[in-house]
Symmetry: C2
Amino acid sequence: MSAKRFDVLGIGNAIVDVIATTDDAFLLSQNLNKGSMALIDEARSHELYKAMGPGTVISGGSAANTIAGIASFGLSAAFIGKVKADESGAAFAHDIRAMKIHFETPQASDGPSTARCLVLVTADGERTMNTYLGACQNLTPADVDEDAVKAADITYLEGYLWDPPEAKKAFTKAAAIAHAAGKQVALTLSDSFCVDRYRGEFLELMRSKTVDIVFANQHELRSLYETSDFDSAVAAIRQEGVLAAVTRSELGSLVVTRGETHAVPACPIERLVDTTGAGDLYAAGFLSGLARGASLSDCARLGAIAAAEVIQHYGARPVASLADLASENGLAL
Amino acid sequence: MSAKRFDVLGIGNAIVDVIATTDDAFLLSQNLNKGSMALIDEARSHELYKAMGPGTVISGGSAANTIAGIASFGLSAAFIGKVKADESGAAFAHDIRAMKIHFETPQASDGPSTARCLVLVTADGERTMNTYLGACQNLTPADVDEDAVKAADITYLEGYLWDPPEAKKAFTKAAAIAHAAGKQVALTLSDSFCVDRYRGEFLELMRSKTVDIVFANQHELRSLYETSDFDSAVAAIRQEGVLAAVTRSELGSLVVTRGETHAVPACPIERLVDTTGAGDLYAAGFLSGLARGASLSDCARLGAIAAAEVIQHYGARPVASLADLASENGLAL
């Protein structure tokens, strides 16, 4: 039950990140695919944790990071995701509520523990993620709070929701509620391997008009259309009739609709520390702009500002006030 | 049972830090004494956690941070401290073992949860700490591994051990074992309020020759001798017949024995982020030098290097390799 309205509601895997620095030799020795996200089971999670260095624990989860960014821009936000009633679950809930984000999804009292992602960051700032989904596997359509979805201008969903078996039903339920209420639905493709697992379904989400806005990085977009040519992939998504925001790391981003294209540069940074959350925070800036009626190129600029903040420190949630950064850049929301 | 030898063994409260940024208004509203450590009960810990912002969770504990620093200098180290077999306890044990530190203190299977310290960091880099001792209250003399103490050149103990009721017995047992084996015993005074609580006992530890080496910052030293005059306090500790290392933040440190005085400047830093662990890491550098036979002024320089590293990022444990930093400063150990 939510009497208030939200600029954006996110639905995603509720994950706690354990971040450790490492080197390429360790990634190699553990057969890890640098820069990507791998799903691992509980036993492998324990094994990899034991082998890795001292960890810093920070709340994460792709859509949850985006929602945290939106709250940092000063917008009203809500999140739906499943944790267990354990220490990590309590930390996740505390952190998201401490940002004034509406979060009332019932915690699991038994079953698998709260999801954790072992994030290995190399000296080049690249992150390699290993996710044990744990309690996220118990997110079901019953967890979708209809009133909260109806109360949100945009409902934002992560592609990673295709991994836990019941979560995609929660996704489609939320999209239906949002559209019935005349609201918009956004999707991030999440990861190129995730696209590889669910390519057909992701394409169908666009073609069936289940989603209106799509976020992708260049690797995910090329994977979606199974092409090594970026321009062909851009031409392909232009035909889907969605609003697409495509990120290209230091090359900036491209906003593509059937009739428009806006190329916006990346924000300069002093030092790349940890790319974790770059895409999540780009989406936070873009959606914040969109919810407040900014132009598409200003939406992309807000995305670039938020992404630049998060890659200059460890962890995938903003440390600085994104509202202040937006103001300093003449883009006050 | 430890067949190996250790440069330094530390005994202290095994604590997990939850770090959040805040402002002076929040400290005021919560009646917190900026810059100091307050002991809080479980109910207050929950209340304060609920009120504070999103947290980053990193292993801490004063002596444990020092031991982590000593391991980062490349020395062999061991730690004794009590956690519970819960998520935080598992993280503490993982983090310390991931640094190749010998840590075999049995975990409590019931009773209070693993200790946590709510660390509030203001924009000036100052930290205000609120510690719930939890499982640390169950550290007893039985946890002191005799073989490990005998195997260590220096046994390092934190003044905070005077807070949990049984831990001081563990402290004196360890000191007796170390001295019987011809080894040295070091103490940090920990915090000026801690000194205020146990002034007479701390003075007696020096006068009874229970400790050979004492670490204090200027506030703790003045509190010990109940004087507002730093020079009088230095003159007083000189008469105790111990080796004293006194830190003065950006003014550097002073090494004082009955016959010698060495003043060593602080290391220049680019940006003060979080003073948490400054004293702990100074002790790490100093003890690493001492264990390897460095001159007293080089011991102080190594302390300054380690302290400078830790105050330039959040968290009280080193991120960079202190062995590398020592080498770069011509002080390879």
